[in-house]
């Protein structure tokens, strides 16, 4: 019986956050703590001739300074995901040794008694770098005038092809084909809290404690222990409040090895807090993918085949996420559509830019843009309405479960389990008023051209097979729940409390869900790919069920009656007639008296993924004189199965849409041809502010529950972002269709739109 699950309850985490009483990593202050600052490469590609730390070491307040060779004991940053053959040859050392390969790569570190003095000392380090030609795109990477890794003799880290169905047949049978090259620009998550770490080595206990790690604490602990030459139980990762994750935070970065290594070396706690400029050049970038895509259709608009090449610019090194971004981009090109023949060639390469990792909806944001844009071009060429084109091609409910085939070399085929894709599209069409708006496509109203655009999507969640939990009776009679999932600001603390309270049949105030910490749980996994509710939720329910058995067993011991004479009911151990024998505080007292910890472990193990799905629609007005786009209305619908807290998931949806609108229109990490980084402040790197996108609507609903987990949840963090670029690009293209403007690349910023309009006008006048 659910009392709390399904209710839009106010969040438990809010109270401390609203009062300024939360503890983020920079709020950790330890006795004797010193501060690290990092000297980063000012050039994109070059050989290190000299790093002279002499003057920095002599400065008052400086505790120590270290250069590349001081860290030779440390291994490279390990691969965690997507081990596509070849990518492991391009891993990053935590600090540059002989070469620098991107602007922002660590070259030396200074430790001082204040952060300001540490930064001052960076100015005293003398460096000399012999510059090399920079690789900045596929053209320069594939015609290697410069190799990032000479020993690998190529800048292409991996190349593979996946195919399903008979492509020759598809293109022979097709009466219509079209091929276009699309580009999704480099941008990233930009959480409001930059990264940071505090590491403290306790010589007496021979133990390292680290604050500031998140996402996948147990992987990070293992990697850090191995890097430092310590046993697993000598290293602990402690949870703190987190100022936004979105995929980029919590992976092993160079600093995750440098900070604890130095803390141990100098025997004092070390704090490193990334500043915003560092963040923009050192935290993972994402999204930079181009795609040469060709579609084959019948005259009636049935898609017969889709083939193409996906080019993934990974920046200078393979980081923990391996090849996942281009891998997922290729995999999600199929989307929610019945496409009998698929063939994708995936080319993953390095360039002299910041390394790439996952950002909310990795590969999906990009793939949905490529495919949905090409579908709109096809629909228009064939004279079919954009919504009808999708209706014809969406996988029908009676075709589910539907196997996409094996679209990733190292994974099994995806099986879309449950859904009603057409119904999601119809919801969105109805809500945005599509039938009325499509008549405005291309029309000029008060000087601006209007357009409506669509995107349908499938989103997979819940990767990472296992999650764990531990449920403990505390001395005061409350119940603590520990999980391997980090709370990254998305409301998981509240959602897991709702689940635990319903499983126990008690009030939420009796329960405290703790942030993930390796000191509280022996084994755990983490928070990514919208898996918190799926894997964490099911693991917590399992742990609580085991806890009910355990506390009943303990009560039977205390009372001296058989366990099956007792039951857990109304927050107490009762007899079968309902007589209350012991409540929680009483049991806690007995446990304390016997020096017993009443606790139970739980886990959830499944390699099956969940597949949420939905549709997005955007209605825009484009000013042809300036290229500025106003989003007049936006609507997205996503079937997420069970919503544990509808308020929280609605917040995820709306927030993700606006973040995606930023990705489509504003956010842009720009490099020049020499690989110099041009967007190192928030005055250069723009993200949405309160005046940019005031009209955004949507619904997260539960029509078809997930078949692959007991709770029926599908994950709710990413569906709001994955369809945005496709929908707004289609809307802008629909608005500008009468003046023959082709939209194939992002961002849809005013100068770029204006250029496209001018190019189109010039073509008309010259022909």
């Amino acid at each position: 019986m659910n009392t709390f699950v399904g209710l839009p309850l106010e969040r438990l985490e809010d109270n401390r956050l609203l009062r300024g009483k939360a503890t983020f990593v920079d709020d950790i202050m330890l006795e004797g703590m010193v501060y690290m600052a990092i000297l980063r490469s000012p050039v994109a590609h070059g050989r290190i001739v000299r790093v002279d730390l002499t003057r920095a070491r002599e400065m008052d307040g400086v505790v120590a300074a270290f250069g590349g060779s001081d860290f030779d004991a440390l291994p490279k940053i390990p691969l965690r995901l997507a081990p596509v053959e070849g990518v492991a040859r391009f891993l990053q050392r935590p600090i540059a040794r002989d070469k620098v390969r991107f602007v922002g790569e660590p070259m030396a570190v200074v430790i001082a008694t204040t952060p300001e003095l540490a930064e001052d000392a960076l100015e005293l380090i003398e460096i000399e770098i012999d510059p090399l030609p920079a690789v900045v795109d596929w053209t320069t990477a594939s015609a290697p005038s410069a190799l990032l890794f000479e020993e690998n003799n190529t800048n292409v880290t991996a190349r593979y092809t996946v195919c399903e169905g008979d492509m020759t047949k598809a293109f022979t049978a097709a009466t219509y084909t079209r091929r276009e090259v699309f580009y999704c620009h480099r941008h990233t998550a930009l959480p409001m809290e930059t990264r940071g770490l505090v590491a403290a080595w306790n010589e007496t206990e021979s133990r390292m404690r680290i604050w500031g790690s998140t996402k996948v604490l147990w992987f990070n602990r293992k990697a850090t222990a191995e890097a430092l030459g310590l046993e697993l139980d000598q290293v602990h990762m402690l949870g703190t409040d987190i100022g936004g994750g979105f995929g980029v935070r919590g992976e092993i970065y160079p600093e995750d090895f440098l900070v604890p290594f130095v803390a141990r070396k100098i025997g004092r706690p070390v704090k490193w807090i990334e500043d915003r400029r560092e963040h923009l050049m050192a935290t993972n970038h994402s999204r930079e993918i181009s795609c040469d895509l060709e579609i084959a259709c019948s005259r009636e608009g049935l898609i017969l085949g889709l083939r193409g090449i996906v080019y993934g610019d990974m920046g200078a090194y393979t980081r923990t996420n391996g090849g996942i971004v281009p891998v997922r981009a290729a995999q999600f090109l199929i989307g929610p559509y019945r496409i009998p023949a698929l063939e994708f060639d995936v080319a993953i390469f390095v360039s002299n830019k910041t390394p790439v990792g996952t950002y909310r909806g990795p590969g999906r944001f990009e793939a949905n843009f490529f495919r949905e844009r090409l579908m709109d071009m096809a629909a228009n060429d064939l004279g079919i309405d954009a919504a009808d084109f999708r209706r014809i091609n969406l996988i029908r409910e009676d075709e589910l479960p539907y196997s996409t085939g094996k679209l990733v070399p190292y994974e099994k085929p995806f099986i879309y389990d449950t859904g009603n894709y057409q119904a999601a599209l119809e919801r969105v069409l109805e809500a945005i008023g599509y039938d009325r708006l499509r008549d405005l496509n291309g029309q000029e109203i008060d000087g601006r051209r209007h357009g409506v655009g669509l995107t349908c999507f499938v989103e997979c969640s819940g990767g990472g097979a296992k999650e764990n939990s531990r449920v403990v009776l505390e001395n005061d009679g409350t119940i603590s729940v520990h999980t391997g999932c980090s709370m990254i600001g998305q409301g998981l603390e509240t959602a897991l409390t709702q689940l635990a309270a319903d499983t126990l049949g008690i009030q939420m105030s009796h329960i405290r869900v703790h942030n993930a910490s390796t000191e509280d749980l022996d084994e755990g996994f983490g928070t990514f790919a919208s898996r918190g509710a799926i894997k964490g939720g099911n693991a917590v329910v399992d742990g609580v069920k085991n806890f009910i058995e355990e506390i009943t067993r303990f009560a039977s011991e205390v009372i001296g009656r058989a366990a099956n004479d007792l039951q857990w009911k109304n927050c107490a151990i009762t007899a079968h007639d309902g007589t209350v024998l012991y409540d929680l505080p009483e049991l806690a007292k007995h446990a304390a008296a016997r020096q017993r910890v009443v606790e139970a472990n739980g886990s959830y193990l499944s390699t099956d993924l969940t597949f949420s799905y939905g549709a997005h629609a955007a209605y825009v007005a484009v000013d042809p004189r300036t290229g500025a786009v106003e989003v007049l209305d936006y609507y997205a619908a996503e079937d997420i199965g069970v919503a544990i807290n509808p308020m929280v998931v609605h917040g995820q949806l709306i927030g993700a849409i606006v973040q995606g609108l930023g990705g489509a229109f504003l956010d842009h990490l720009i490099y020049d041809k020499d690989g110099q980084f041009l967007t190192g402040t928030l005055a250069d790197y723009l993200v949405p502010t309160a005046t940019d996108f005031p009209k955004v609507r949507g619904e997260s609903y539960g029509e078809k529950l997930a078949s692959t987990n007991p709770l029926g949840v599908k994950g709710a963090g990413e569906g709001g972002i994955v369809g945005v670029a496709g929908a707004v690009a289609n809307a802008v293209a629909a608005a500008l269709r009468p003046i023959d403007v082709k939209i194939t690349s992002l961002p849809l910023s005013p100068p770029r739109i204006w250029n496209s309009i001018t190019d189109a006008a010039n073509q008309v006048s010259s022909s």
């Binding site: 609203l18 300024g20 009483k21 709020d27 300001e116 409001m192 308020m647 917040g651 606006v658 309160a690």
Partner: protein, 161 residues
């Protein structure tokens, strides 16, 4: 560098402190006074996370030297709640789910508190305008605007009495 002695009022409490003149008000609050609710998001005056109220005005504490705050009255996020109770603005944020990770929230609350004290009846456009100096990556701003519109009623009531 020689420290400079300053005196100011923080959340109603008098504070006397000696501080290096190059350090910011944000550093004074966070490191010296351990008021860590004020967050540092960019240190170049764009994101608004570090906003505090100085003599009634919303001010970016990363752009003000601590010594410039000598003699002022400063209110930080820690000074907004009324004892055990959340302030009407804080309560409206919770009700409307106007925060997720909460890192930008202190700066947004102080900015909106200063606005509503001056203008207890702002339009939605006016709220968005003032809010546009604060970056939030989680919420998309819509619930923040709703929360501020609702909380404004409490400020109007206070202004009348």
């Amino acid at each position: 560098m020689t420290d400079v002695a300053i005196g100011l009022t923080v959340n109603g409490q008098p504070v006397e402190v000696s501080i290096e003149p190059r350090l910011t008000l944000a550093t004074l609050l966070r490191r010296h006074l351990r008021l860590t609710g004020t967050h540092i998001g960019c240190e170049h005056g764009v994101c608004g996370a570090c906003t505090v109220i100085v003599d009634g005005d919303a001010v970016r504490s990363c752009l003000v030297f601590a010594v410039q705050a000598d003699g002022t009255e400063v209110t930080t996020i820690e000074g907004l709640a009324r004892g055990e109770d959340l302030s009407p603005l804080q309560a409206a944020f919770q009700k409307h789910h106007a925060l997720q990770c909460g890192f930008c929230t202190p700066g947004i609350l102080t900015t909106m508190h200063a606005l509503l004290n001056e203008e207890p009846n702002p339009s939605e456009d006016r709220i968005r305008d003032v809010l546009s100096g604060n970056i939030c990556r989680c919420t998309g701003y819509l619930p923040i605007v709703e929360a501020v519109l609702e909380a404004a009623a409490a400020y109007r009531k206070e202004a009348r009495s």
